[in-house]
Amino acid sequence: MKASLYTALKRKIILITLIVSFAPLLILGATIYYQAAQMYRTKVEEQIDYRAKAQAEAVDLFLKERTAILSAMADTHSYQELVDERNLSHLFQVMNLRAGAFVDLGVINNGGQHIAYVGPYDLKGLNYYQQPWFGEVMSKGIYISDVYLGFRAIPHFIIAVRRQEGENSWLLRATIDPDIFGAIVRSAQVGKTGDAFIINGEGLYQTRPRFEGQILSQSGLNPSQFGGRTTVLAMVGSHGKKVYYAGSWLKSDKWLLVISQELTEEMSGLFATRNVVIFLITLGAIGIILTTIFTTRLAVNRLKDADEKMNALNVQLMQSDKLAAIGKMATGVAHEINNPLAVILQRTGWMQDLLEKEEFQKSESFGEYQTSIRKIEEHVERARKVVHNMLGYARKMEPRLEDVDVNATLNQTIDILENFARINNIDIQTDLKPDLPIIAGDQAQLQQVFLNLISNAIDAIGKEGTIAIQSLRSNDEIHISISDNGPGIPEELQTKVFDPFFTTKQSGKGTGLGLWISYSIIEKMGGTITLNSKPGAGTAFTVKIPVVVPEKK
């Protein structure tokens, strides 16, 4: 496969692996986070709901206590007693001592006249008949007002109780200290952004809120949104942040206690967790990415190697197949060629014999006949040689088994070619590992292979060069390499060199059979010949033969 295909494959695998790894991871992370956030939010809501309810109940209790003590006072004292301001003052002190939060105390008759008063303001003598609350308290008996300015022009609210003494009814009225009241409400504030206040049915602040607004200013909240006992709403505040409002009705649903909380502050814990998780996921992601890339690269490279090995093996296999096929064909073809050649030769011989007759010798064409006959016989001889050579080694002759010393064989072969190499200024260097095992084989055939390879190297170099011959043992094989620094073999020809009749020499100079025969011989010995060549750098042939220990004789 081309390099680009492997790169494409790597990319595909990495992409798919990452998608498959990340998608579930992210989905899981997102889902869990979402669920956690939901749960957290719910908890926050529950909490704020609870706080609103609790606080509302506390405020209600406060109001009930004050109302109770006022009622108790009204019920246990007569009009005559209370109109006396000394008594009223004493009562006032006791009330403040025991219950507290009263600003003033006053008696109002059934005409609305403020008859007696104890307190800091100048309210005695004022008439409340027109005030809306007057009517209400006269009919209902108890009344707690909303916050209003009143005669004293200061926001406050009052609790009034009615006492019926026979036909006379009168009111005992007290003002609640707005600061104390406000403090009680504000005690429900939590955190930096939390607030607690009370608004009435029209949304007007009854206590001072923490951040914006004043008592009696419009809160901007719509009390009708708060239904039932306690409601939690989420709204976007004026500063763009999400705020929770928990509203709980009190004072017979006249007042709404509101606790507000900025969501981010409540959720800060969750966000911290979220950030930690994101960090961990990122770390994990980096880890996954690196591992994926590394592993994929490793795997695809192995694949490439395996592919290359298989290709090489395939080439070898095809070569072997080719050889076997040719071998089979060779013997049959050879026989079919030799017989006609034999006949031709006999016929030309016969013609030659006949030409000895006198009458032919006198003819003009005698010379021509002689020449032609000679030429025919030359070419028959040429054909014979080719067939003979090809046959010689396509036979199924079993190689002889004798004790072969590989290094000695190499040295012998080098001796044979020494002179020839020296004449052409070619240096033959050897690096033969001593103590190579003696193997069982056909020494003559092995020598033939070496002869072929070394003389090929000499021919390739031509003049001036080096041939390096190496032998060594590798596990249970002997490796012999013969390399030259000649011109090398072009890539497209490298698979063809072992084919029979393939030669790059001029016609007549080489049969093209040498490598084919060598390959065959080595293959029969159970070994391989491989070639490694780079045009311009040289060629190396490596012969690998298995170590077969000769049988003991």
Partner: protein, 154 residues
């Protein structure tokens, strides 16, 4: 050459007939047959000095088989094996069985003649030794002349 009786055994008609013509032109008494069986039949009737035998003859008797039989019938006749193809191993087998030598087809007549002469030489030497031994015998036991005469007639 007198006394040189050659037998050519080859299934290729053109080959054997041309060869016979050429040998006869050189005054060699040559006969030819087309198969091993015919050769054996002939050799039971007639003496030969040299036999040129083509090993690979398709069908019928195998060349080696023929050789074996020939050695039974005329052990002193020298057999030269002609092999047309890669049956050198068969030739070696033939040598073990007593063939004189082998030649690869296609063969030049000169080569074949040389080989046949060598074979004939060998046979001559053999024959002479036999004659010499017989003469010695005769010399020693003159009374046995009549019996020898009978043998000689074979």
């Amino acid at each position: 050459m007198d006394d040189f009786r050659a037998l050519i055994v080859d299934d290729e008609k053109e080959f054997r007939e041309t060869l016979v013509s050429r040998l006869q032109k050189r005054n060699i008494d040559t006969t030819c047959v087309a198969s091993g069986e015919e050769a054996l039949k002939l050799m039971k009737a007639k003496l030969f000095d040299v036999v040129v035998l083509d090993i690979k003859m398709p069908g019928g008797m195998d060349g080696i088989e023929a050789l074996r039989e020939m050695k039974h019938i005329q052990p002193l006749a020298e057999v030269i094996l002609l092999t047309g193809h890669a049956s050198v191993e068969t030739s070696i087998e033939g040598m073990k069985l007593g063939a004189f030598d082998y030649l690869l087809k296609p063969v030049r007549l000169e080569e074949l003649l040389a080989k046949m002469a060598q074979a004939f030489e060998k046979k001559n030497v053999h024959d002479q030794k036999i004659r010499a031994a017989r003469i010695k015998e005769l010399m020693r036991f003159p009374g046995r002349v009549l019996e020898e005469e009978k043998d000689k007639g074979k």
